[in-house]
């Protein structure tokens, strides 16, 4: 059965070279599969631009390198690194709010030694590391005090990022932190209570905290026809692309919506619409299966982990991947508001990908740094 820890004695006898390089083959294969699909789709969505595809392939290679690099780091060291990165990240976030660069109407960037980067990206990895590291030091499920601290560790960066404003990233970070807490085993009542709290927070969010354009996005979700040439345009075009794909799709390179410029962001956030148009329901089924396999592997790795830190971290990373997938697909198909979340390993672009790949590297690290004397039961 999937969740029963295997007999590691037999496994360790093999000592395959993959294991020694800290590469988890199934994970690697699934990632490779998704990346290949991504390259093919980007090629089509970009209007058969070899240039774009090559650039993306290069990014993939770079990301894989990062993944393999961090896979070499054993989890206990990761815990320590996580702690310091979190602290630094928090400071940087504060700096951004104080004197950050504004680009595309959002204050997200910092310039250090002439290099521009987004501190919020760092927090995507730092938060789960920090929260998992903190909670694993005590008993699980955590005491109310420890729970509170964990929540704070999650929410402070979330709010700082939300103020930039960068709603998409803020949500992802909150998700990753909350996922850790979820896997820590807090009582169901508590979870319900928190959901209720979030629920009651929504009206506050709506009326006081959300920007107008963010509100527009949610309203457009329910009725894209309200603003067919403005905010609704994306969704309408996206649905047209998806719907016209049908069961079998129009075929690779035959998508009309993106080729003729009807679908904006067709290579980035809305690439799933291009995929659906060209490969149809069958293709979507296959893609979902690929993601499911990846997620299953991630959860399996978590179930096989030897300590609570690794377990919670694995669970959080995997769930984060899942949320990316779900939110993007939901957004593109019109059941969620447009929040600007890419479809990892398919969408063109690099920053979110690299962060996720680091996550995968951590998963590999967790899985391949097992000690013989671990408790297997």
């Amino acid at each position: 059965m999937l969740f029963m820890p295997k007999n590691q004695n037999i496994k360790q006898d093999r000592q395959s070279w993959l294991w020694r390089c800290h590469v988890d083959l199934p994970l690697f294969l699934f990632i490779g599969l998704l990346m290949s699909i991504g390259l093919a789709t980007v090629y089509s969505a970009s209007g058969q631009s070899l240039e774009m595809m090559d650039r993306q392939a290069l990014r993939f290679l770079l990301a894989i390198t990062f993944m393999l690099a961090i896979a070499q780091v054993p989890p206990r060291i990761l815990k320590v690194i996580g702690f310091w990165v979190f602290i630094i990240g928090l400071i940087l976030l504060l700096c951004v709010l104080q004197f950050g660069d504004i680009s595309k109407g959002a204050q997200r960037w910092l310039r250090i030694f002439g290099v521009r980067f987004q501190p919020s990206e760092i927090m995507k990895i730092a938060v789960p590391l920090m929260v998992a590291g903190y909670l694993s030091q005590g008993r699980l499920p955590p005491s109310p005090l420890r729970l509170l601290v964990a929540l704070l560790l999650t929410l402070v960066p979330t709010i700082l990022i939300a103020k930039q404003p960068d709603l998409g990233t803020a949500i992802m970070i909150a998700t990753s932190g909350l996922a850790v807490i979820f896997f820590a085993g807090i009582s169901w009542w508590l979870i319900l209570g928190m959901l209720a709290l979030i629920g009651s927070f929504v009206p506050v969010l709506w009326f006081f905290l959300m920007h107008d354009y963010q509100r527009q996005r949610v309203l457009t979700l329910f009725d894209p026809e309200r603003d067919p040439l403005g905010t609704g345009y994306h969704i309408i075009q996206s649905k047209i692309a998806i719907g016209s794909g049908g069961i079998f799709g129009k075929g690779w390179l035959n998508g009309t919506q993106s080729r003729l410029d009807f679908l904006p962001e067709s290579t980035t956030d809305f690439i799933f619409a291009v995929f659906s148009e060209e490969f149809g329901l069958i293709g979507i089924g296959g893609l979902l299966l690929a993601y499911l396999s990846l997620i299953s592997r991630g959860l399996y790795i978590g179930s096989q982990a030897q300590d609570s830190f690794s377990r919670m971290l694995a669970g959080s990373i995997t769930l984060t991947l899942f949320v990316y997938m779900f939110v993007n697909m939901g957004m593109v198909s019109g059941i969620m508001p447009v929040v600007g979340v890419p479809l990892l390993m398919i969408s063109y672009g690099g920053t979110a990908l690299v962060t996720m790949m680091l996550g995968f590297g951590i998963l590999m690290s967790i899985h391949t740094h097992k000690t013989r004397s671990s408790y297997s039961g």
Binding site: I240, G243, G245, G246, L260, S303, T318, G330
Partner: protein
């Protein structure tokens, strides 16, 4: 922590973790199912809708206008055609410096301020890669000058276009009518998909009545466009436009032109038709106008001139002019008298020059001051005796008159294939009650007997009633269309048969027609002089209809009455007498005597048609010593 505690803790933690894991897996599966369900909804249940939208996004339909059908007379002469014209067009995107180009261009091609303004407005409205009209109808010189210098003007090109043209101008203006730019009201009535590439539509006359046939069917080609509307690929599917049908009319162009010239300097209408099939040979309303002015929108000055002219050139007198028929209806009235048995061919009455109703002192006068003496039906027609018909009409009563005359078409449209026809008025008791809220007075019957009073008819109705008469109470629906021509060939027009439904005895018909024969052949016939020397035998009836009433004891003095109050001159006739091939109805407004003013015109028309002899200038024949005022 003791190692035992540690152990137990680990076990507990693992259990919790696996618990959560299960929940996580369920959550993941559920969400994926949700996504899948959404996709199924979009890609299966709404697939057709989105496919259509997807195509609608990218497939544009470019319409191609059909060529308008031509109109010919019965001998194949062109009456309405399409002339090629050349337009100067621009694609702004392809021009480097538009202002400079326009300035240089102005030296080769005349560009008025209006042209430039219109162009600028269009340019701001349309996409940069769309071709826009700069100047239409280039002259040959402009075409030549531009073509030679075309390489200096990238983005500019000469495009072929078509414009409707009426080569015969005035003479046919009231028959053919004209096309004009489609207006808002018309836009609501037509099938817009067939008019996507058409700017003009028939406005009056045959152009309007046969619009559907003349217009044809618009074709289209499918092209693929991107989000800006730029054509990316295509055409993928192409349906050729179907040209409009050509119309071959029953009109004779030479006859029409002659007829029009006969009315030169006067106001009036002439309708000539073939009683054997109802085909219209000539239909003239004078004065006419130049229909070419209206095609692309007439300029206000020209229009004001036409509209304000007291001669009403835009008014179609042949179809819409309603006049008192006057004495022209006497033959029919006589026929009614015979048919109803009130008189016979031998009946004679005494005409002292006036008529009075019983117990009434008012005298209805005959045109002949001291009367015609003893009058039978033949003389009553030949010399247009009024008293005979005053008496007859009173005896017949308005009800019988109304019923009989209605059967001969008075008070109804004839059904000609033109939209502008009026029905005139055949008065009746019922009509008087309904419209005037009064009963019918006997004196009104008196007037009706000689075609005055409320009775009004169009020249077309006069021609048609005459045709029905010469055919013995039946005939055909008058029509201008002889045949329509399409790619499949000629289709002849089948006119409907018209029956009066009145059974007319041969001897009665013969008598009436003989009376009409004597109008022309008898020495004292009212049209005798007009038909002197004719190479054929004819029959007819003159009419002089009052426009303004004359007081009891006054006499009509032409010089005293203002021109537009003078009597209208009318004439109906047919020839050859034995097997009539042509029926002519003439009205000349305010011209006076039918015999001297209208009959000669009919003679000229018949001359032309039957013998080919052309008489253009008509001198009114000298009046009789006693002025014929029938």
């Amino acid at each position: 922590m003791s190692s035992y505690d540690n152990l137990r803790n680990q076990k507990e933690e693992l259990r919790i973790y696996r618990n959560r894991l299960l929940v996580a897996v369920c959550l993941v599966l559920l969400c994926m199912l949700l996504i899948l369900a959404r996709m199924v909804h979009l890609q299966i249940f709404q697939h057709e809708m989105y496919s259509t939208l997807s195509n609608k996004n990218r497939i544009s339909i470019i319409p191609e206008g059909p060529v308008r059908g031509l109109i010919f007379d019965r001998n194949g002469q062109i009456l309405a055609t399409n002339l090629p014209t050349f337009n100067l067009e621009v694609i702004p995107e392809q021009v480097d410096d538009l202002a400079d180009s326009l300035q240089r261009l102005g030296q080769l091609v005349h560009l008025s301020d209006k042209d430039l303004q219109k162009f600028e407005r269009m340019r701001q409205r349309e996409r940069r890669f769309k071709q826009i009209l700069l100047r239409n109808q280039l002259t040959e010189q402009e075409i030549a000058l531009f073509s030679v210098n075309q390489h200096l003007f990238p983005g500019f090109s000469i495009e072929l276009s078509e414009k409707r043209y009426y080569p015969q101008g005035d003479a046919l203006s009231h028959v053919i009518g004209y096309v004009g730019l489609i207006n808002k009201t018309e836009l609501e009535k037509i099938d817009t998909s067939n008019y996507r590439a058409t700017k003009h539509i028939g406005k009056t006359g045959l152009e309007r009545f046969y619009e559907d046939r003349l217009h044809g069917t618009t074709g289209y080609s499918q092209v693929e466009t991107d989000a800006s509307g730029r054509v990316v690929r295509g055409p993928m599917e192409k349906v050729n436009p179907e040209p409009g049908e050509n119309l071959h009319l029953t009109l004779d162009l030479e006859l029409q032109q002659l007829t029009d010239s006969l009315l030169q300097g006067r106001r009036g209408a002439i309708v000539a038709l073939d009683p054997r099939d109802g085909g219209i040979l000539a239909l003239v309303s004078h004065p006419g106008f130049d229909p070419n002015l209206f095609i692309d929108g007439i300029d206000s000055q020209s229009y004001s001139e036409l509209r304000d002219s007291p001669d009403n050139p835009l008014f179609n007198r042949a179809l819409r002019g309603v006049y008192a028929p006057g004495s022209t209806i006497k033959p029919l009235m006589g026929l009614l008298g015979l048919t109803s048995g009130l008189i016979t061919v031998h009946t004679k009455i005494w005409d002292p020059g006036y008529f009075s109703l019983p117990n009434d002192t008012r005298r209805y006068r005959d045109w002949k001051k001291f009367g015609h003496g003893s009058v039978d039906i033949f003389l009553s027609i030949a010399q247009s005796c009024d008293v005979f018909y005053y008496d007859l009409a009173v005896k017949l009563g308005i009800d019988r008159i109304h019923s009989f005359m209605s059967a001969f078409g008075f008070g109804h449209r004839t059904g000609l294939d033109m939209a502008e026809e009026k029905s005139g008025l055949m008065p009746s008791r019922e009509w008087k009650r309904r419209v005037r809220k009064q009963g019918w007075y006997p004196g009104e019957s008196v007037n009706t007997g000689i075609g005055q009073g409320y009775w009004s008819a169009t020249p077309l109705q006069l021609a048609q009633s005459t045709a029905l008469l010469v055919n013995g109470g039946q005939g055909f629906q008058p029509h201008l269309l002889k045949a329509s021509e399409s790619a499949q060939g000629l289709t002849a027009f089948q006119p409907e048969v018209v029956e009066t439904g009145i059974s007319i005895r041969k001897e009665h018909l013969t008598a009436v027609l003989e009376g009409m024969h004597q109008v022309i052949n008898s020495e004292r016939g009212t049209a005798h002089k007009a038909f002197k020397g004719a190479h054929y035998d004819a029959g007819g009836k003159t009419g002089t209809a009052q426009v303004v009433g004359i007081k009891q004891n006054e006499s009509y003095d032409v010089n005293k009455v203002a021109l537009r109050n003078r009597d209208n001159a009318l004439f109906i006739g047919f020839a050859p007498f034995d097997q009539p091939k042509i029926v002519v109805a003439v009205i000349v407004e305010n011209a006076g005597h039918g015999g001297s003013e209208a009959a000669p015109l009919a003679r000229a028309v018949m001359d032309m048609y039957l013998t080919g002899k052309k008489t253009t200038a008509i001198e009114p024949t000298a009046a009789e010593p006693e002025e014929v005022n029938d």
